[in-house]
């Protein structure tokens, strides 16, 4: 088990009311994905089978089993944002990075993810660029972000 994961599991052992779901949420929050070895570790921690852990990890749609791209573009596609032009913003993002939503670019540079609601419906279209929420977004905003991200080359994690 990698050190980072081992540390998280050690901390979880001291946390009250740990469940399969709460443990997985904790791991993903810190590592940004669920590494393969996290599944048996959570099974052992919570006293259930590996299958019981997978069943939860594959149900909630935000869990991922591989590291996300260096830069993450999330866009809300809910009806409020849709009415205000979300599909144009999303098309611009797909074009700029060369991948479709809910996938990563092969070079590991970008992840595109659909959000069903970010909670700022009054400001649609809403995008979240490297965890920074931005309202009233237009196609130019995501294009500029992608250009900047390509230039800087730094991972935000």
């Amino acid at each position: 088990m990698a050190t980072a994961l081992a540390d998280i599991i050690t901390a979880l052992k001291k946390t009250p009311e740990v469940t399969v779901l709460s443990a997985l949420i904790d791991i993903q929050e810190q590592l940004h994905y669920l590494p393969p070895e996290s599944i048996p570790a959570v099974a052992e921690l919570t006293g259930v089978s590996v299958n019981d852990v997978y069943t939860v990890a594959t149900f909630y749609t935000h869990f991922r089993f591989s590291p996300p791209g260096e830069h993450v573009i999330e866009a809300c596609w809910g009806p409020s944002c849709h009415l205000r032009g979300a599909s144009e913003v999303m098309a611009a993002a797909e074009k700029a990075v060369g991948a479709t939503f809910d996938s990563d670019t092969p070079d590991g540079k970008f992840t595109l993810r659909k959000l069903s609601c970010a909670g700022a419906c009054g400001h649609g279209p809403v995008v979240v660029l490297d965890h920074k929420m931005r309202g009233n977004a237009g196609p130019a905003d995501v294009t500029a972000f992608v250009e900047q991200a390509r230039k800087s080359g730094d991972s935000h994690h």
Binding site: F59, P79, S80, S116, C117, C121, N136
Partner: protein, 576 residues
């Protein structure tokens, strides 16, 4: 020795700079998630720098959301002896002049002002109390939103917070608290509108010793952001409502349930709980009484169905959020097999004021069967999107046109999509005759639900919007009941086909015929899945049939049906 409420109140008033008692100018920044998405964090940082740079001694603190999304980022400045003035659409670039002119100098900068909260000190600055978006409001659940510091419980106490809890603990028996809630006729705000007091009575009658109070803040409905706004803006009102529910039903612990990605409500709720323990408002012998109660935040993963009451319990227990069959109902067998009560964030938020002022006072607001206020979230094609607390019975045109300012660009409003993705469509013609009311809205096929109202203008296409909803409903079916798992996907395939101009003559009827099968699902996700298409077809049949029969999208929104060579949509994205 735990502090009494009077001790806390004294301390709060002595320390509460925020409540404006320090004699210094007070500057607040609206930092709900809506404010953050409009750049409030950058504005806050710029204010910190600038106050230092210009050597100004002022109180600066974050607040939550007052509800005027359209004016974010919002900075409020109160100079001693003057009314608070709100400054709208503030960017970091504006901050130096704001500090120089308004905080330090005597120029109130009417050019940047949204308005003053009270009699205006300058004729060029309007009184916000006269705004349609304010004067129709009755602020009960949101009474502190946008003014209280959500991260400082003493500020809540300085404004009278936890006074209702103190009153209940020392002057009322648990049953009397339930009686007041029954008298108030408060109905659940999560969507089903079940009478809250009656629900509490069920739990009060269940045997202990362990019983749970669950607060549902999952809020996966696109277009509804009132739960998150309450938790971000005034988490202590929610918490006080939960503790009061615990006292009334003799429960032992409360859980606030929030989706893991909604980090701001999680942070603020956790902070409120931590401070409540420190101040003796949670834990053993609350405020020196005999009553003990614990509370915690619990996170769920991304899953819409986890907002369903029994699925929510599955998620808290760490499993897939799939509904359980009822009966047994949660009041008998709930979380970890123990009796539990589940209400929405909004529902609990009304309770402190109901206990403080009495159920009869609350019941004096609203209509015969929809008492009090509704927390309305306006979004979509609307000039003034925002969160407004409005008394039931208000005509919907007042809500949409006077408060929301109608559709942008002088366009006509075409429909309201209400009640979330399982809700319905209400055409403008019917909107004219319908008040904001649980039953009146239900009668149209649309519903009030949790208060989200998404406005579509004449530019919007019903097929285009309804397919977003059916796609969401298909994606979010948890998969437990096969009528829902298959039915929501079947409906979506049909709607997608119609949107792409490949609809077949009987498609709409086929989709609508799925309703009786879907009704066999365990929860509302399947049971209500035909609502959006049924109401869309009822009120916009011609428009839908044009897509099917004529392969034509009258509004010109559906990309596949646009004339060859037509460009992108006018008015989309930033242009609005």
């Amino acid at each position: 020795m735990p502090s009494t409420y009077d001790d806390l109140k004294r301390r709060a008033l002595a320390e509460a700079q925020v409540a404006g008692l320090s004699g210094k100018p007070v500057i607040t920044v609206g930092m709900g998630i809506c404010g953050v998405s409009a750049g409030a964090r950058e504005v806050y940082a710029a204010l910190q720098d600038e106050l230092k740079k210009q050597g100004v001694d002022a109180v600066l603190h974050p607040v939550g959301c007052v509800g005027f999304c359209y004016a974010e980022a919002l900075v409020d400045i109160t100079r001693p002896g003057q009314p608070r003035i709100s400054y709208k659409n503030i960017t970091p670039e504006r901050v130096p002049e704001l500090v120089r002119d308004v905080v330090k100098g005597a120029n109130l900068r009417s050019d940047l002002a949204l308005g003053a909260w009270g009699a205006s000190p300058s004729p060029a600055i309007p009184n916000i109390h006269d705004f349609p978006a304010w004067k129709h409001q009755v602020r009960i659940a949101t009474r502190n939103c946008g003014v209280v510091d959500p991260d400082n419980t003493l500020d809540y106490i300085a404004r009278g917070g936890y006074g209702a809890l103190n009153k209940a603990l020392f002057d009322m028996k648990p049953d009397q608290v339930i009686d007041e809630v029954i008298k108030s006729n408060l109905r659940g705000r999560g969507g089903a509108a079940f009478p809250t007091g009656q629900k509490w009575k069920f739990l009060a009658g269940s045997p202990g010793p362990v019983k749970y109070i669950l607060c549902n803040g999952e809020e996966g409905d696109a277009g509804a952001f009132n739960d998150k706004a309450l938790l971000e803006s005034d988490p202590n009102t929610v918490l006080e409502g939960i503790i009061l529910a615990g006292y009334a039903t003799r429960a032992t612990k409360g859980y606030i349930f929030i989706r893991c990605e909604h980090w701001l409500p999680i942070q603020r709720a956790r902070n409120a709980i931590r401070q409540a323990y420190e101040l003796g408002i949670l834990g053993k012998n609350i405020l020196g009484s005999e009553f003990s109660f614990d509370a915690a935040v619990v996170q769920t993963g991304e899953s819409y169905v986890s907002g369903e009451e029994t699925a929510l319990m599955e998620a808290i227990e760490g499993r897939r959020a799939m509904p359980r069959p009822r009966p047994p109902f949660p009041a008998a067998v709930g979380l970890w097999g123990k009796p539990s009560n589940i209400n929405n964030v909004k529902t609990y938020s009304y309770v402190p004021e109901i206990v403080a002022k009495g159920g009869a006072w609350y019941a004096s607001i609203g209509t015969e069967r929809s008492k009090g206020t509704g927390l309305v979230c306006l979004s979509g094609d609307i000039v003034k999107p925002g969160l407004y607390e409005l008394p039931f019975g208000l005509p919907l045109p007042t809500v949409i046109n006077d408060i929301g300012g109608g559709a942008p660009g002088g366009k006509k409003v075409k429909f309201l999509q209400t009640g979330g993705p399982l809700g319905g469509f209400l055409p403008a013609s019917l909107m004219e005759k319908t008040p904001m009311d649980f039953d009146a809205m239900n009668a149209t096929g649309a519903m009030f639900g949790s208060g989200g109202i998404i406005v579509g203008s004449e530019d919007a296409c019903v097929v285009d919007v309804v397919q977003v909803l059916t796609e969401f409903n298909a994606d979010e079916s948890c998969g437990k009941c096969f009528p829902c798992r298959l039915g929501t996907n079947h409906i979506n395939q049909i709607m997608r086909r119609i949107r792409e101009g490949k609809g077949r003559p009987n498609d709409m009827q086929t989709a609508l015929d799925l309703a009786p099968g879907l009704a066999a699902s365990l929860c509302a996700h399947g049971q209500l899945a035909t609502n959006p298409i049924r109401t869309a077809y009822q009120y916009f049949k011609d428009e839908i049939e044009a897509h099917v029969k004529d392969r034509r999208c009258p509004a010109g929104r559906c990309a596949a049906l646009r004339p060859q060579g037509a460009g992108t949509l006018a008015g989309a994205g930033n242009a609005r």
